[in-house]
Amino acid sequence: MAEPVSPRAQEAIAALIARAFPDLTEAERTALLRACGLVARWVERLPRDLPYEDEPAHVFVAPERAR
């Protein structure tokens, strides 16, 4: 999972970083870009086609119902 993201994704991430944290040094921006690239790989793994009924709260609102 540690491969870098595509150059296009890196550009998008760089733009987001610049907007959220405009005062970073170049070294800090580079380090953060690397971390964001790693996070992007995990985000890409999330399913986007779950059915409507897969609402996220059931298990944790009433844990005893899941037993």
Binding site: M1, A2, I13, L16, I17, A20, F21, D23, E28, A31, L32, R34, A35, C36, L38, V39, A40, W42, V43, R45, L46, P47, R48, L50, D54, E55, P56, A57, H58, V59, F60, P63, E64, A66, R67
Partner: protein, 462 residues
């Protein structure tokens, strides 16, 4: 008792028979802290005089026949994210260096009610994430089995202090493995209870959906004593479930006949990161569970990366929400690793977070189903034993899925017990995951394994 080392169970029995006093136990721990903690950095604050005074009060209570139970007079310590009224609580960060809480965390208060004696506050990774870091106000804790090596984290001081005999028990917290990783690397027992079993009120949050508070101690039995004192509902934490709390120590003993152990080899067996010594030790441990009477079967689960993806996205999103304002105001007062990890969440969208929560539910139900067929699941706590602290990558959690995250995502109780040592003398850890709110069975399995194997007889030579 073995040399300088007491377990909670041994100390409790000796206190009951008045073979030892709380004052002697506290003095023994303080002497050991004085002797070895300069090498380990497990404490960020030692409360020597306060502990001595509390020990004298406990001694007087016990002599009057007013015992508060098995933890009365037992010296313990807290990860420095547990708030302590009138006592500095830093999160191992410059951000909270002068923070003196007005009230105790619920766990802090419950442990005091049970009669434990607070020796001090323990090192952690900054706000329970990242690390080991060398740019924080306190140095990182080091591993008692080899101080050149990593403790695991984030409950790094808790793992080191218990393994080295600098406290008989400690509290950790676990959002992605932060109790079980240092328990494994430091060769102790640590249990992340079910989500909702223990109040998080007054503990610095990292991720509301994934944070768990739990005990770390030398044995599963000692964890049972500590969990007893802290489990249960709490009006200050709406996630703390109003469910009965069984007698954990009473559930211990006997063998594992009638139980079923599921082994999710799909999570680890083909992973090239799995250290051969870890593989051998865990497979031997699983066979031992079979020898104790359990039926052992394979259980298929989703890929580990699915669990880790859900965990990473939820954890970072929520940690960013917790720290966003402070990050913008005091950016350079945070350590570099924390900054990099948390700020990377700025690129996670709201939709990403919701999809991670939906994936979480699917995965939680998958584990529920697996644990409907099996009493516990057994697999490694971590892929490899601890290596040099200087060479731990700052973004390790983002680079490689951790074997601890499934139980954070699902909320099931999970513990690590020591299952041997590498040729280099570093501990190896077996992870056990149990049914929701059935910590009693989980502790019973861990305790049975510890009693059947020789690993609890070995302590670090500092």
């Amino acid at each position: 008792m073995s040399g300088n080392f007491w377990t909670i169970a041994e100390a409790s029995a000796a206190l009951a028979k008045r073979d030892v006093s709380p004052v002697e136990l506290v003095e023994a721990c303080l002497a050991r802290i004085e002797a070895v903690d300069a090498k380990l950095h497990s404490y960020v604050l030692v409360l020597a005089e306060e502990a001595r005074a509390a020990a004298k009060r406990a001694e007087a209570d016990i002599l009057r026949g007013e015992s508060k139970g098995p933890l009365h007079g037992i010296p313990i310590a807290l990860k420095d994210i547990y708030e302590t009224a009138g006592i500095r609580t830093t999160g191992h960060s410059r951000i909270k260096l002068d923070h003196v809480p007005k009230r105790d965390a619920t766990v802090t208060r419950n442990l005091a009610k049970a009669g434990t004696i607070l020796l001090g506050k323990l090192a952690t990774h900054e706000f329970a994430m990242g690390g080991p870091s060398f740019d924080l106000p306190f140095p990182p804790a080091r591993n008692p089995w080899n101080p050149a090596n990593f403790t695991g984290g984030s409950s790094s001081g808790s793992g080191a202090a218990v393994a080295a005999g600098l406290a008989l028990g400690a509290m950790g917290s676990d959002t992605g493995g932060s109790i079980r990783l240092p328990a494994s690397h430091c060769g102790i027992a640590g249990i992340k209870p079910s989500y909702g079993r223990v109040s998080r009120a007054g503990i610095f949050p990292l991720s509301f959906a994934l944070d768990h508070a739990g005990p770390m101690a030398w044995t599963a039995r000692d964890c049972a004593f500590l969990l007893q004192a802290i489990a249960g509902p709490d009006p200050r934490d709406p996630t703390a479930a109003d469910l009965p709390v069984p007698d954990y120590a009473a559930a211990l003993g006997g063998d594992l006949r009638g139980m079923s152990v599921g082994v999710p080899r799909t999570l680890f067996a083909a992973d090239p990161a799995l250290d051969p010594e870890m593989r051998a030790a865990v497979e031997t441990a699983i066979a031992e569970l079979g020898a104790l009477g359990a039926r052992v079967e394979e259980v298929p689960l989703s890929p580990l990366d699915d669990y880790h993806a859900a965990c990473t996205v939820i954890l970072l999103s929520e940690a960013y929400a917790v720290h966003e304002a402070m990050l913008k105001a005091r950016w350079r007062d945070y350590g570099a690793i924390f900054r990099q990890r948390v700020m990377s969440a700025a690129t996670i969208s709201g939709s990403d977070y919701v999809q991670a929560m939906r994936l979480r539910q699917k995965l939680a139900l998958e584990l529920d189903a697996a644990l409907g067929r099996h009493t516990v699941l057994a697999f490694p706590s971590v892929f490899a034993p601890a290596g040099p602290i200087e060479s731990v990558p700052g973004l390790a959690f983002l680079e490689k899925a951790a074997l601890t995250t499934p139980a954070n995502v699902s909320g099931h109780p999970a513990m690590s017990v020591c299952c041997g040592f590498s040729k280099a003398g570093m501990p190896l850890g077996l992870q056990l995951v149990g049914r929701r709110f059935d910590e009693a069975t989980l502790l019973k399995v861990g305790d049975a394994y510890e009693r059947a194997t020789p690993w609890r007889g070995r302590r670090p030579a500092l």
